[in-house]
């Protein structure tokens, strides 16, 4: 019997791809073959539109597939200038049919961008109102193996359900979102 792709990742760019793929595969022990990252554009600035354009299509595919195979749809979008709540509503709207409480659709929404989380994991005290500093400082780290250790440490804490020390609010919300799929990851 052929194996199934079970976690579909719709994200904006390579930094998202590296973060999520590493998070799932190393400490959670998920087979790389079970993580399918939807190809994203390479130019900077198109990622947000890419996620919003694709979400309805991926949502439809998820729901049609989920009737016969356990699947997770993981969507990563930077909040940029918006609040995490606004982006969540926007994604719900673009999804067509809003998420059901028991659907394994997860929104990961860093405030401004994921480099702020990398800064936090590196030990910086993070201010989520800061627009560009973290991207400038951690842009290359987030796209490369240099972030692996940081992501691994987060994955370990997440797996052990250990509390984070003064985390940025958007990361707290992402942890709460993650609870939607914790059971599905454990039972796989």
């Amino acid at each position: 019997m052929s194996k199934a792709s079970q976690i579909i990742v719709l994200c904006e760019d390579r930094a998202h791809d590296v973060f999520v793929t590493r998070f799932l595969t190393r400490k959670w022990g998920i087979d790389r073959r079970d993580v399918r990252v939807v190809d994203y554009p390479r130019d900077e600035g198109s990622g947000r539109r890419h996620v919003e354009d694709k979400i309805e299509e991926e949502g439809r595919a998820f729901r049609s597939r989920n009737s016969h195979a356990a699947t997770i749809l993981l969507i990563v979008r930077d909040a940029d200038e918006n609040s995490v709540g606004d982006v969540r509503d926007r994604l719900d709207e673009r999804l067509g049919l809003a998420r059901g409480a028991d659907e394994s659709i997860v929104y990961i929404i860093p405030k401004w961008h994921i480099e702020a989380w990398i800064a936090y994991l590196s030990g910086d005290s993070v201010d989520e109102d800061e627009k560009s500093e973290y991207k400038k400082r951690y842009g290359n780290v987030a796209k490369s193996k240099d972030c692996h250790g940081l992501v691994d440490s987060l994955a370990v804490k997440c797996k052990e359900q250990a509390s984070l020390d003064d985390p940025p609010p958007s990361l707290v919300e992402a942890c709460q979102e993650f609870e939607r799929i914790r059971g599905a990851l454990r039972s796989r």
């Binding site: 019997m1 790389r32 073959r33 190809d39 130019d43 539109r49 890419h50 490369s144 193996k145």
Partner: protein, 369 residues
């Protein structure tokens, strides 16, 4: 690591210079010169393994529209923080006389460490007292083959040997499972260009480094359900490559040629990957590894390869048109090969189209070619 490659007057490559990366994609239209680059590199490798220049370099390999009789290949390498530069000039004759090495030079950290010029070889050495490079013996040498392969290793000529070993241990292949043989009548240290001799090479590998075979088996088992072991079974003097699969609780053995093309390709790719990790190869340059491999198995191999390039300081260049590979590897340091107007090869980074994936950009083409 190969940091720069220069080729001049070889097929469609004229004054051609590129800087290979640690983990890099080469892509381009059919006939745009990607495979010719590997051919030029393989020619140098064969020369440094001791083959005759006339058996390697063919007169009709000069650029069709170029009347010069000299062909040049240059390499820049970085090994353990030291730089190595090599330049070979091969000369052809208009009157059917033999092809000859005109000049061959290797520089180590900007200082000449080997020179062959005008029929005379100059050897250099590191002075044990001062640590400086100084000229050693010079002697008349045959122009039909390189002197470098015949130099015995000594502690004062270490750079020359290190350079030779690095180039010798490149893997330059275009794997084609259709031509891979299953019988190993002997052992072979080097893989052939299409992996025809995979069984003989694997026999050598198991003899010298059995742990590589064991580690490759683990990775192959993740990609091929039920796969347990790749081994060699005695058939008289020869040995047959055999894959063992565990099906419904019992072992079943399959001759290598009974496997599908894709299964053979996956076995070869993961074995190559583990050999790169173990240092059997200093770098790999693989042309179209995606052939016959199922869509979902391409990324795991590629991810594994990228991981070991980053973590174990290895180098991998992949030539491919496959959308999975193009999307995964196109990051700005990739090379797009083209031949505007059918003339000599040019390279540039793969163009970016806002909103499109790299593979979609390639599929749609762009207006300036």
């Amino acid at each position: 690591m190969l940091t720069e490659l220069y080729v001049d007057n070889f097929r469609c490559l004229t004054n051609f210079r590129i800087n290979p990366g640690v983990f890099q994609l080469w892509s381009g239209d059919n006939g745009s010169g990607k495979t010719s680059v590997l051919h030029a590199m393989r020619n140098v490798q064969r020369l440094l393994r001791g083959e005759h220049v006339g058996d390697i370099f063919e007169e009709d390999s000069t650029t069709l529209w170029d009347t010069r009789l000299e062909q040049t290949v240059g390499l820049s390498l970085s090994i353990d923080g030291e730089t190595y530069e090599y330049r070979l000039i091969v000369e052809y004759s208009r009157h059917g006389a033999k092809t000859r090495i005109k000049r061959e030079q290797m520089k180590w950290n900007d200082e000449t460490f080997f020179l062959y010029d005008a029929g005379e070889a100059h050897l250099f050495r590191i002075n044990r007292g001062t640590g400086q490079v100084e000229e050693g013996v010079r002697f008349s040498a045959d122009w039909s083959r390189s002197v470098i392969p015949s130099i015995a290793e000594r502690d004062d000529n270490r750079p020359l040997v290190k350079f030779r070993e690095c180039v010798e241990s490149w893997l330059l292949v275009h794997p084609v499972p259709l031509v891979m043989e299953e019988m190993a009548r002997g052992e072979m240290r080097a893989l052939s260009p299409h992996l025809e001799n995979f069984a003989q090479w694997y026999r050598h590998l198991l003899q010298e480094r059995p742990e590589i075979g064991r580690r490759a088996n683990t990775l192959i088992a993740e990609a091929l359900p039920g796969f347990d072991l790749l081994s060699l079974k005695d058939i008289g003097e020869a040995r047959r490559l055999t894959a063992t699969f565990r099906i419904d609780g019992s072992n079943h053995e399959f001759d290598f040629l009974e496997l599908s093309d894709g299964q053979r390709q996956i076995i070869a790719l993961y074995t190559v990957l583990e050999s790169l990790r173990a240092g059997v190869f200093s770098a790999i340059f693989v042309d179209e590894p995606d052939n016959f491999v199922s869509l979902r198995e391409i990324r795991p191999w590629l991810d594994c390869l990228e991981g070991l390039c980053e973590e174990d300081n290895r180098q991998a260049v992949i030539i491919s048109h496959h959308p999975e590979i193009v999307n995964a590897m196109a990051r700005g340091d990739d090379l797009w090969f083209s031949r505007p107007g059918g003339a000599h090869v040019q390279v540039k980074p793969l163009p970016v189209t806002p909103g499109l994936t790299p593979a979609e950009t390639v599929a749609r083409g762009w207006g300036d070619e």
